[in-house]
């Protein structure tokens, strides 16, 4: 029995270790309060349409669904629609997929459910990932696009928001592994700002948080409704349970 317990402990211990090594750059926490902030969601929509929609589609999301985040149909038409789209259409991409493959080496993924798909058990939500990913681009001249990323090393996408954040370089240092002196680890040691961006670091974090909030909303537009309805359903079931509990007790009182 002791042996079994020991090997079990070993199994879980080793496993935790292994995943810690694989895990890579830890994800920052997405500020979830943005999800209930209509102004943030609307700003996120604006950023999304301006910076993401040129290459990425969101082909399950209809423009007029954005009424759910407090925009009127007219506002959507005037601010978010380009040239020929209609307000009932989905956010299709104008980029030709074959061209995209030529330019970037990979077809930019559809972003409708990107926030849902990028979550990982034990690491964080998809929003956490996106919030980290969009804030950890750095200049890397060895890459074809000139950009690299900490959360997604060797990513094919260039830094779409670089005008806002400015250009940064990443410093790395070689650290000796504490357990194995023969190994050295290539460890991230901070960013250096090369050129300033249109926004300060704090402003940029806010912008990215707004954008991620919009993508999180877009992944499941019904989520606010779901939670609102859920509260009422649980209240109803709670009350019903009490009544049925007493009903049951009333019947069983006579059973001896």
């Amino acid at each position: 029995m002791k042996k079994i317990l020991l090997s079990l402990l070993l199994a879980f211990g080793l496993h935790a270790n292994a995943s810690a090594n694989e895990a890579g750059y830890p994800w920052d926490q997405f500020p979830t309060h943005k999800m209930t902030d209509m102004a943030a969601l609307q700003n996120g929509a604006r950023l999304f349409v301006n910076y993401c929609l040129n290459c990425h589609g969101a082909s399950y999301v209809r423009y007029n669904r954005l009424r759910d985040i407090g925009l009127t149909e007219d506002q959507i038409k005037q601010n978010l629609l380009f040239a020929t789209e209609k307000v009932g259409e989905t956010m299709k991409v104008s980029l030709d997929p074959r061209q995209a493959k030529d330019w970037f080496g990979a077809q930019p993924p559809d972003l409708s459910v990107i926030a849902r798909s990028r979550a990982e058990i034990g690491r964080g939500t998809g929003a956490d990932y996106l919030y980290t990913y969009l804030r950890t681009f750095y200049r890397d001249d060895t890459k074809a696009t000139g950009w690299n990323n900490l959360a997604f090393p060797d990513v094919a996408m260039p830094h779409a928001l670089w005008e806002l954040q400015g250009q940064r370089r990443a410093r790395f240092e070689q650290v000796k592994d504490a357990h194995d002196p023969a190994k050295t680890e290539h460890r991230f040691a901070g960013f250096e700002q090369v050129t300033p961006g249109a926004q300060s670091a704090v402003e940029f974090d806010e912008s990215v948080a707004d954008l991620v909030a919009f993508m999180q909303w877009m992944g499941e537009p019904a989520q606010a409704t779901r939670i609102r309805v859920g509260v009422w359903v649980l209240l109803f079931l709670g009350v019903l349970t009490v009544f049925v509990w007493r009903l049951n007790a009333a019947y069983w009182r006579g059973v001896t």
């Binding site: 798909s117 979550a119 349970t241």
Partner: protein
């Protein structure tokens, strides 16, 4: 033909209608036999709620399934988008879909607990063998339903999960390749696979499942329910001919089950409305990426309810096959030396063991993995004949038996955990131990279930008034 009943002229319209029906169809009789005047033991505890909850979930899955089928497109190029269409554009579609996806996990939770109840109180023992066998059939159907239903959203996990499992059939000697081709309808999982899985998921398997549920209930109401004491309540009949320890299901278990259903629905709704992804276990995150036959995910994990069996599959390596061969050989030698067999019996045993060991070493370990995985479910069917204990309920078995059951549960959970994780060397050893414990529990049951000091079983059930 039964005699034709008359109701008094001043009877209510309802009574007249009921009488009209009863003279043509045994409506009242069916109701009374199956529920209304079905006397169930009055000492049911909380473990006895999961049968009716399974029924509730079944109804919910069928109803939500009907509405999903109205909007879903079983076409490899449209399936993924049609699920998102249900989630976004179909009124309340998100609720129906979440109820169905959460319902799948809830079904397994409820059924696993229901089976465990049967296990600890000996509900499969004579005369309830057929109830248990029908139940195992339901469990098999449920696994088929879940497996084929999981392909339908056409996400990466749907696709690659199906690919991995269908490929397993290719490991069957001689016919494997043709068999897996027959299941897929193509050389890889594709549109043809999606269409046939859809057909099986929405009509073929549910039909069999419903038939088995009816058989399960008819058999149960024929022989009567077991109870936590494992006592035959029909031995103590009252003057009215009904069991003294029994109570009519209606209204007593009607209200009981209503209360259970309310508590269940509260928990179920909490998941549906506040955590529909179940932390990535009920709806896997990777499944929000559309299926891509050219891109294999780094880590393919089945949904949580299959992971214990998946662990056993992965545990069956060449090493494990050697261990199994040694165990088989030792068992055969012990049987020949210690067992009370005649000379011919001993020869049969020796030859059988040699052939079995030869087969183990001939075929690929992958094939034996499939056999182990399938065997882990099939072995349940034989439980009524494996258990040789003189009492039904765990309450009157020797105390140390509880540890044996505990070991089974513990290792089943550990296997489930390991099956959801990427393979690791240490994890594999643990799942090999777990696999041996799982099979040891059942295969050695004829031996260990007889040993120990059993406690006296009372004549009447233990019941304290509420």
């Amino acid at each position: 033909m039964a005699e034709f009943h008359q109701v008094p002229a001043d009877a209510s319209t309802g009574q007249k209608l009921l009488n009209w029906v009863d003279n043509r169809f045994p409506f009242t009789k069916l109701w009374n036999d199956q529920w209304g005047k079905y006397y169930a033991p009055k000492n049911f505890n909380v473990w006895y709620i999961f049968g009716s909850l399974a029924m509730l979930v079944l109804v919910m899955q069928i109803l939500t399934g009907i509405f999903l089928t109205m909007h879903y497109k079983p076409d490899a190029s449209l399936a993924f988008a049609s699920v998102e269409y249900i989630m976004r554009d179909v009124p309340w579609g998100w609720l129906v879909r979440y109820m169905h996806s959460t319902g799948a996990s809830a079904f397994f939770i409820v059924v696993y607990l229901h089976m465990f109840r049967g296990l600890i109180y000996g509900s499969y023992r004579k005369p309830r063998e057929l109830i248990w066998i029908f139940g195992c059939g339901i469990f098999l159907c449920l696994m088929a339903e879940a497996f084929m239903g999981y392909l339908l959203p056409w996400g990466q996990m749907s696709y690659w999960g199906a690919q991995v499992i269908v490929n397993l059939f290719a490991a069957v000697p001689f016919v494997g390749e043709d068999l897996s081709l027959l299941i897929r309808g193509d050389y890889v999982v594709g549109d043809a696979t999606l269409n046939r899985f859809f057909s099986f998921h929405v009509i073929a398997v549910p039909l069999v499942l419903l038939g088995l549920v009816v058989a399960h209930l008819i058999a149960l109401h024929e022989v009567g329910s077991n109870n936590p004491d494992g006592i035959d309540i029909k031995k103590n009949l009252g003057p009215d001919g009904h069991p003294l320890d029994g109570i009519p299901s209606h209204p007593y278990y009607t209200t009981h089950d209503m209360f259970g259903a309310c508590v269940f629905l509260f928990i179920f709704s909490a998941v549906v409305f506040f955590a529909p992804e179940g932390g990535g276990y009920f709806l896997e995150y990777n499944n929000y990426i559309e299926a891509n036959p050219l891109k294999t995910p780094a880590h393919i994990a089945p949904v949580w309810y299959f992971t214990p069996f998946y662990s056993m599959l992965r545990a069956t390596t060449d090493l494990m096959v050697n261990v199994l061969a040694i165990i088989l050989a030792v068992a055969a030698v012990l049987g020949i030396l210690r067992g009370n067999f005649r000379a011919t019996g001993k020869i049969v045993l020796a030859v059988g063991a040699i052939v079995a060991v030869a087969l183990l070493k001939t075929f690929d370990a992958k094939f034996w993995g499939v056999v182990v995985m399938g065997g882990a479910v099939v072995i349940l069917f034989f439980l009524p004949w494996l258990d040789r204990s003189p009492v039904r309920s765990i309450r009157y078995r020797p105390d140390w038996h509880k540890f044996v059951y505990g070991a089974l549960v513990f290792f089943f959970l550990v296997l489930g955990y390991l099956g959801s994780q990427p393979p690791s060397a240490a994890g594999n050893y643990v799942s090999q131990i777990g696999t041996l414990v799982y099979f040891g529990f059942f295969l050695l049951m004829p031996w260990w279930s007889r040993i120990g000091t059993f406690k006296p079983v009372p004549d009447r059930v233990t019941f304290s008034a509420h």
